[in-house]
């Protein structure tokens, strides 16, 4: 169903330097608990043979799909696709924290905020959009890798970026004949030595979403080392989802047609 606005992210992989300003900005803007994150920069690990190495970083978050599987399964109606903005949002007043949407999301971008007992995820900083600001991650992106805007507006930054792009990758996920039609468009995702290389497929299952948890988190002001950030949220479904996600990564590359 077409919406008045069609908000989308464009991520230019060539420009992402993995500085993580976006991650911190999002955490502050949205009061994300210390043991969760709403957005990621996926580290593809160093690839290649010395000294011809590559290292690619893929920023991502909720894909705000055209056909979101999460809304289908929500029993309370809390998760919905906004019919004005087209964003996938969670009404946390209505959310009962059952976690079905987390199971349904093929991208693993949702978590349960244990303190509040509700599901949380990227909302594209709707609170900022209302006052004319870009999402926090986009506004501060040091490499200008993250762009955001309305695809229904041909002059928006995202429309212009996609118009100019030679090829665009989306991470589609298909189930029962329905494509999610995600609204993150990746530019310059390298074809070789990256997650899109079929040779690297076996490795991808290990290193795909969620972000390899090589960072520490503060716990009550003290810490344990190397706690997997998403392990709690993803649980046993992780490997299965990673497999399907990866499969779609491989199959999902397509020319962007406008």
């Amino acid at each position: 169903m077409p919406t008045k606005n069609h908000y989308a992210f464009v991520m230019d992989i060539a420009r992402c330097i993995d500085c993580r300003a976006c991650l911190v900005a999002c955490s502050v803007e949205n009061n994300v608990p210390m043991d969760h994150t709403r957005i990621w920069v996926h580290d593809q690990q160093v690839q290649g043979v010395w000294p011809n190495l590559t290292h690619t970083f893929v920023p991502y978050n909720c894909m705000h799909c055209d056909n979101p599987p999460c809304t289908e399964v929500c029993v309370s109606g809390a998760t919905y696709k906004d019919d004005v903005s087209g964003l996938v949002l969670v009404d946390q007043e209505a959310c009962i924290g059952c976690g079905y949407c987390m199971e349904a999301c093929p991208y693993g971008v949702r978590y349960i905020d244990q303190k509040r007992g509700v599901v949380d995820k990227c909302n594209a900083c709707v609170q900022r959009l209302g006052i004319g600001l870009d999402p926090a991650c986009v506004a501060t992106c040091v490499g200008k890798a993250r762009l955001f805007g309305d695809l229904n507006d041909p002059n928006s930054e995202v429309s212009v970026a996609l118009e100019k792009a030679k090829s665009v990758t989306t991470l589609d996920y298909e189930k029962d004949g329905t494509d999610t039609n995600p609204n993150i468009f990746f530019l310059n995702l390298p074809a070789t030595g990256s997650i899109l290389s079929s040779d690297a497929f076996g490795q991808v299952a290990q290193t795909s979403l969620p972000r390899d948890p090589h960072y520490t988190i503060a716990e009550e002001g003290w810490k344990k080392v190397a706690i997997p950030l998403m392990a709690v949220a993803m649980g046993a479904t992780f490997l299965v989802q990673a497999f399907f996600f990866t499969k779609q990564l491989v199959e999902g590359e397509k020319e962007f047609e406008e």
Partner: protein
């Protein structure tokens, strides 16, 4: 999931921490429970509404780059920081550190009252004190040292911040020549080389027309200067070619067109060879060289033996590649830039390396295109409170400037030499140390020796917002207001003046440096050097000649002032007024007037080069306790190449013991293909000793505990990559 035990220290529990001293612990914990009142100044200037909500324009201090900031305040609490689009250092963007800045201010470990040590140094037992009690004690100790041993027995150290002029009043007014900045641990080689060649500390880089860039260990996507990092990414997207030289495959390497994994310590050979090829094949800009440089003929004859084949043997790079890069660099002409870096690979030959880079730029005549005179801080028509002349100081400086290091500027100094002179008690013993916003316990090489120097002290006082490692070993700790809680003196940037102003009121008893230095100065009999009523009066006196009012500046965050007038950019402040490829000044002091090859030392069999370098989430030694940065940092581990790890029977995440001639640390291993097999790398800034840093304590290991002190005789720079280590399973 890999399990790691970072060190025995990490087993210390929160309970043990609390046992360290109830008073101290409660002092750390007070801040978070007191809602700070709305910043009075901001409310007066009309940027906050009646509820204390709105945006306030100020400046970041998470590193020394000073981005412009819009701070969002809700009911008196700062809730979000945004880049100021009007500030040339941020263009509306902030890096991870800048975004996390409010967590520094709201760190539950903030020190919020003056503390006076009760137990032994390093035991962490302090009691809370009032400001008057603490400052009386500091002043009394300092005056006792002055009266007994002379003012030079008191050492002062602080680094590159906006209240530095007042800090200098304190030390020069007191009569001590002993001034420690941290710059010799960072980029002395670059600064002194630029002063010799161009007569300025650091020319500005301009990426707008850039076509070809050589980055020598300048890891711009991880050692971030926001606007310059954005400029680099823009330039690459626009098609500029970037050659990146580093023994490590950093994130910058991953963005570069070409990465050259050079052998540490041989950057000089690479650059000398580029010079030789460009001169030998007549690829330089002859009219620029002729008109604006001095000593071309001497350089041409001095570099003749530096052929690509010669450099290939030393650097481990391909001779054809070196030659091709020389051709490409010269072909890009004035649109080429050899970035002078903030540091090269940090060997004792870093100074001639930096000199060679300055010469390379001059050969293609990029001045005014990709290299510009630095905008400069200072002047701008600002006034200052009246003050008397400093007393005459006759004592030698303990850091050897200028008597050992004639080319090092007094404002920069040689910090590691200062420490060594304290340990040696030569040429005279020091007895007291005042440290502001600095952490020499972690920053200086050879940590054990730094603690030895502390042991020689009758009295140590540290000012900081946190109980940093230096405060932990001090006698008195003074709580400073954070950068979001205070005014700082104004410094012009080009033809603009930006303000750092309080976004919230200081928490607890924290006070601005302007206040602390004045109160201490007054107690030391130096009131004449601090002639202002309060912070705002200081700024008003600065603004008086400009006709701009403080309230106007507070409201807008910046004002334009008359620029100092267009000067001829093709006139340099060198003795000859030209770009000095050959330096008669160096020759006069019996140093090589032209950069020539100097062989760096080699590791013995079984040893590795210990490399240093930044990560994008931290600044030096002061941000590791920030919980937001902690959340998104990588676990700091020791990088080692797959091949080397295999030879030693080591696996990813193994705990290893790293040993150098001066120390040993335990740290987890990161087996990677992103480093030469003769090198290991450790992120600096971790391995904190202070248990007052409850987030950072126990994480990672300190490279300062391993670094051997090697000082470049010309620039005074510490050769941070010249330490060799052995690694074994812990």
């Amino acid at each position: 999931m890999p399990k790691t035990e970072l060190s025995g220290l990490s087993r210390l529990s929160r309970r043990n921490f609390l046992k360290l001293g109830a008073a101290a612990a409660s002092a750390f914990a007070v801040g978070q429970f007191i809602p700070p009142p709305v910043a009075r100044a901001a409310r007066q200037s009309g940027v906050l509404d009646n509820n204390g909500s709105g945006y306030i324009t100020t400046m970041c201090e998470m590193c020394v780059w000073r981005c412009g900031v819009h701070a969002k305040v809700v009911e008196g609490r700062v809730v979000k920081l945004e880049g100021n689009p009007d500030h040339p250092h941020s263009h509306g963007r902030l890096c991870a550190r800048g975004q996390s800045g409010l967590m520094n201010t709201y760190d539950p470990d903030r020190v919020l009252t003056p503390l006076i040590r009760e137990g032994k140094r390093g035991e962490g037992k302090f009691r809370q004190a009032t400001w008057s009690e603490a400052l009386d004690e500091v002043a009394e100790a300092m005056l006792k040292i002055k009266n007994t041993y002379g003012p030079e027995a008191m050492v002062f150290s602080s680094t590159h911040n906006l209240s530095q002029p007042l800090f200098e009043n304190l030390l020069y007014g007191f009569g001590s020549p002993n001034y420690g900045t941290q710059r010799s641990l960072c980029f002395n080689a670059m600064i002194v080389a630029n002063l010799i060649t161009y007569g300025m500390e650091e020319p500005t880089r301009d990426y707008s027309q850039l076509k070809y860039l050589i980055l020598t260990g300048r890891n711009l996507t991880e050692a971030i200067s926001t606007s310059e990092t954005t400029d680099l990414v823009d330039a690459i997207a626009g098609g500029a070619k970037v050659v990146y030289i580093d023994p490590r495959f950093t994130k910058t390497a991953s963005k570069a067109s070409e990465w050259l994994p050079i052998r540490p310590g041989t950057d000089l050979a690479f650059h000398l060879t580029l010079i030789n090829v460009i001169i030998g094949e007549k690829l330089y800009n002859p009219s620029f060289v002729d008109q604006y440089t001095l000593g071309f003929e001497q350089v041409a004859s001095a570099v003749k033996s530096y052929t690509p084949d010669w450099a290939a043997t030393l650097t481990g790079l391909d001779a054809n590649v070196i030659q091709r890069i020389a051709h490409e660099f010269a072909a890009a002409g004035q649109y080429a830039l050899a970035h002078n870096g903030w540091r090269t690979s940090n060997f004792i030959n870093s100074f001639p390396t930096e000199r060679a880079i300055t010469i390379l730029n001059a050969l293609v005549g990029n001045w005014g295109v990709t290299m510009l005179p630095s905008a400069g801080e200072g002047g701008g028509g600002l006034g200052s409170p009246p003050q008397p002349a400093y007393p005459r100081v006759s004592a030698q400086r303990l850091d050897g400037v200028p008597w050992m290091y004639p080319f090092v500027p007094l404002k920069i100094g040689v910090f590691q030499q200062l420490r060594d002179s304290i340990v040696a008690g030569q040429p005279y013993p020091a007895h007291g140390w005042l440290i502001s916003r600095q952490n020499p316990v972690l920053s200086l090489p050879d940590r054990k020796k730094t603690l030895d120097a502390f042991n020689k002290m009758d009295f140590i006082v540290t000012m900081d917002i946190l109980m940093n490692d230096t405060g932990w070993f001090s006698d008195v700790v003074l709580p400073e207001a954070s950068y979001l809680e205070r005014y700082d003196p104004l410094v012009p940037l080009g033809n603009q003046i930006f303000i750092r102003q309080p976004v919230i009121e200081p928490q607890g008893e924290a006070k601005s440096a302007l206040w602390v230095y004045q109160e201490l100065g007054t107690r030391l009999g130096l009131a004449d050097f601090f002639q202002y009523k309060d912070e705002e009066d200081y700024l008003n006196q600065q603004l008086a000649p400009t006709g701009v009012s403080l309230s106007e500046l507070r409201l807008h965050g910046s004002v334009k002032v008359a620029s100092s007038g267009e000067s001829n950019i093709f006139q340099w402040s060198t003795p000859s007024g030209k770009i000095e490829l050959y330096s008669a000044a160096l020759q006069k002091d019996k140093f090589d007037p032209i950069p020539v090859w100097q062989e760096p030392p080699l590791p013995k069999t079984g040893e590795f080069y210990l490399l240093t370098g930044k990560v994008g989430q931290h600044t030096q030694f002061g941000t590791q306790n920030n919980q937001l940065l902690h959340k998104y940092q990588d676990v700091p581990r020791l990088w080692m190449a797959e091949e080397a790890a295999q030879n030693l029977g080591l696996k990813d995440w193994d705990m290893v013991e790293v040993t150098s001639p001066v120390g040993s640390v335990k740290v987890a291993l990161e087996v990677t293909s992103a480093i030469r097999s003769d090198c290991v790398y450790l992120t600096p800034g971790f391995g904190h000793l202070s248990m007052g840093l409850r987030t950072a304590y126990g994480v990672g290991a300190s490279d300062s505990a391993l670094h051997v002190t090697y000082t470049d005789p010309i620039s005074g720079g510490q050769a941070l990559s010249q330490t060799f280590v052995s690694v074994k399973k812990a």
